[in-house]
């Protein structure tokens, strides 16, 4: 009898829980539909790097229109996988999809929409150094491939006249986790230094010839901060928010440029001049021309299927992207992301009209 009672109680509890879940579900959906007139929530997944600015956009957009966007920052690779499987409405990535990945997508062609720009900075721990360190692509490649092992090497000192550098060992710190930051950094070295392209190459994870691997920007920054003689690379936004020392890097035009929101946007503008009119924006802008261009810059992309199966969701997505590329861009700099150059933002927006919302299979 007691067992029966217990079972009955349990059933009752389960039923109640279900009931309340249903209730809260209906009440919240009625609330959203009341504020937005029948909204369909969107889901997205992908890159962690733009997550701070995206989540700001999503929350503001929800306040404005009632359209709720749920974004999981699980990494670019995960975002591409989920979009290919069709389990999310949009993906996000720090590196463009390869032709092979595009061919594997289940629901047809995928379009790349650049949203903001990121950059990778070189941070270092050289005791007694007050002015920013000056480096070239060649010097960085020499350090990260282990050919230059002392700070006092002439290949570094010749770039920094009037500065005495210590004769201590250089400790290279790189990312241990697969990351868009590593992709941008190695993409730059591969583009600017032919020897790097043939030896280490570029990728989200590469086989580093020397150094220690640390997890995440915080891992690399922590290791560099604690170890005199260390050098590493982190995202611009992370470096700015933590006041890390950053190196000035000679760009394609031979000018020394410090990383900042302005110099990164300048790199995009420099690269934009050479873009063909029908570009799919799967482009790298590392080592971009232009006197003010910071050379280790890159887009981050939102990935969307060209043929939207659900026209209502598709419309919401296009409306959001339109808003993000107009109003959203203006807020990027406050979170240390570089906005797209305005001419490029409008041509990317024009490309939104190529998304097929007819819902035809």
């Amino acid at each position: 009898m007691r067992a029966l009672k217990l079972a009955a109680l349990m059933l009752l509890a389960v039923a109640c829980a279900k009931e309340s879940a249903n209730n809260s579900g209906t009440s919240s959906s009625t609330a959203t539909s009341a504020s937005s007139g029948g909204s369909v929530d969107l889901t997205g997944a992908g890159a962690t790097f733009p997550y701070p600015i995206y989540s700001k956009w999503f929350s503001e957009y929800a306040d404005l229109t009632g359209v709720k966007i749920n974004y999981q920052s699980i990494g670019s690779g995960g975002g591409i996988r989920q979009l290919s499987e069709g389990t999310v409405d949009f993906g996000a990535s720090d590196s463009p999809m390869s032709d092979e990945e595009l061919a594997n997508a289940k629901a047809g062609p995928i379009l790349h929409f650049p949203t903001v720009l990121g950059a990778v900075v070189i941070t270092y721990n050289v005791p007694g150094l007050s002015a920013p360190l000056n480096l070239t692509a060649k010097a960085i490649a020499d350090i990260f491939s282990g050919r230059v092992t002392k700070w006092s090497d002439t290949r570094i000192t010749s770039l920094n006249p009037g500065v005495t550098l210590p004769g201590t060992d250089i400790l290279v710190v790189h990312r241990s986790d697969g990351s868009g930051t590593t992709y941008i950094f190695t993409d730059y070295l591969a583009a600017a230094v032919p020897a790097w392209a043939t030896s280490v190459g570029k990728g989200k994870e590469v086989k580093w010839p020397v150094g220690l691997g640390a997890k995440g920007n915080e891992g690399v920054a922590g290791q560099v901060k604690q170890t005199p003689g260390a050098i590493g690379y982190v995202e611009l936004a992370y470096a700015k928010q933590n006041n890390l020392p950053t190196a000035a890097i000679a760009n394609k035009d031979g000018k020394r440029v410090l990383p900042s929101v302005t110099t990164v946007t300048a790199a995009a503008a420099g690269a934009a001049k050479a873009l063909p009119a029908n570009t799919d924006y799967r482009i790298s802008i590392v080592n971009a021309p232009g006197a003010d261009s910071y050379p280790i810059s890159s887009f981050t992309w939102i990935l969307v299927y060209q043929r939207q199966r659900d026209p209502v969701k598709g419309k919401k997505l296009v409306d959001f992207l339109n808003w993000a590329l107009t109003k959203g861009e203006a807020e990027a700099a406050s979170l240390d992301y570089a906005p797209l150059p305005s001419s490029m933002a409008s041509s990317v927006k024009a490309r939104l009209s190529t998304i097929d919302l007819s819902g035809a299979k």
Partner: protein, 324 residues
């Protein structure tokens, strides 16, 4: 009609009760049986899923996954020998550090400690198991690594002249196999000490009294009468700690230096299988890369299975030897 026999009613009621109990028993039996089936089924399902996902890599790369040490995603080489080596070495270092400490704590608490101290110390040691591993990792980065870099590593290497052996040679960066071993030791310690304490406390009083009556000192009593009695339980506890060390991911990734190289020196950075998976899984898009990571997971699965089997066997053989 008015005179319904009372004993009939009574009989029916009794029958009803018997039926109800039988029904209750059946429900209870079914529920527990379901639990007993679901959990092993889940383990088997996970194993099947991991091995199925790992199959393309095993088919293409074969044993080279564990016999070669070149992990180069771009070049399509997936040799996880350094990670396998790192997993085994870091766990071994952890056990070498944690086992004496944990058993020492357990012996103190069960044999020497005043009663008022036993509860709080035991509680604090157990509390180590409740700290999230990412917190251990952060503590490792901000406290342990700076300490290791200076003064611990230079002391071991130069002052004690251990640098003359290959095991403590090379530069002292901080992130290293030694750092991973120390973090893992702290994480495995509460498991070993909790189990050891319980089994030591469970040793019958008569065992101790007999030893003392024969004129043994306290230390002799513990060594000859108490520990042999509790040995199989203590070994079980050590194996539990080893299982914890083998699978630990986050804290190790944060302090080991993530360098896929086999080095004899404990001061050199290393890699473990769990950190390899944690580092690369989220950004892996290439099919063979994903499958190779799954294969590493499958190998880790097999290693923990072997460790558990060995633990069972040890416990069993010790128990049998004592019975003889």
């Amino acid at each position: 009609m008015t005179s319904l026999p009372v004993d009939w009613l009574e009989k029916d009621r009794r029958k009803l009760r018997v039926d109800a109990t039988a029904l209750g028993d059946k429900i209870y039996e079914a529920l527990t049986a379901a639990c007993a089936i679901v959990v092993p089924a889940l383990v088997i399902a996970i194993a099947i899923a991991v091995f199925a996902a790992a199959w393309p890599a095993f088919a293409k790369l074969g044993l080279s996954i564990i016999t070669t040490s070149d992990w180069d995603v771009r070049g399509g080489h997936f040799g996880a020998a350094p990670a396998l080596f790192g997993t085994l070495v870091s766990s071994a270092v952890a056990l070498i550090i944690a086992t004496p400490l944990a058993i020492g704590v357990a012996i103190f608490l069960s044999e020497f400690s005043p009663a008022w101290l036993r509860q709080p110390v035991g509680f604090l040691v157990d509390l180590l198991a409740a700290i999230p591993s990412v917190v251990y990792g952060l503590w490792g980065i901000f406290v342990l690594l700076p300490l290791l870099r200076d003064p611990v590593m230079p002391f071991l290497r130069d002052t004690l002249h251990l640098g003359a052996t290959p095991f403590f040679s090379g530069p002292a960066y901080g992130p290293s196999m030694l750092a991973a071993g120390i973090i893992l030791a702290i994480m495995a310690l509460p498991y070993i000490s909790a189990v050891s304490r319980e089994v030591l406390m469970a040793v019958p009083r008569s065992q101790r009294e007999a030893a003392l009556a024969l004129g043994a000192t306290r230390w002799e009593m513990i060594r000859d009468a108490v520990i042999p009695y509790a040995r199989s339980g203590i070994i079980g506890g050590i194996m539990l700690g080893l299982g914890r060390a083998l699978g630990e991911t986050m804290a190790v990734t944060m302090v080991i230096g993530n360098r896929a190289e086999i080095s004899a020196s404990l001061l050199a950075p290393g890699y473990t299988m769990a950190s390899l998976i944690a580092n690369e899984f989220s950004e892996a898009t290439n099919d063979l890369h994903l499958s190779a990571l799954m294969a590493v997971g499958a190998i880790l699965f097999v290693i923990t299975l072997i460790v558990n089997a060995v633990a069972r066997w040890l416990v069993w053989s010790v128990a049998r030897r004592r019975a003889q």
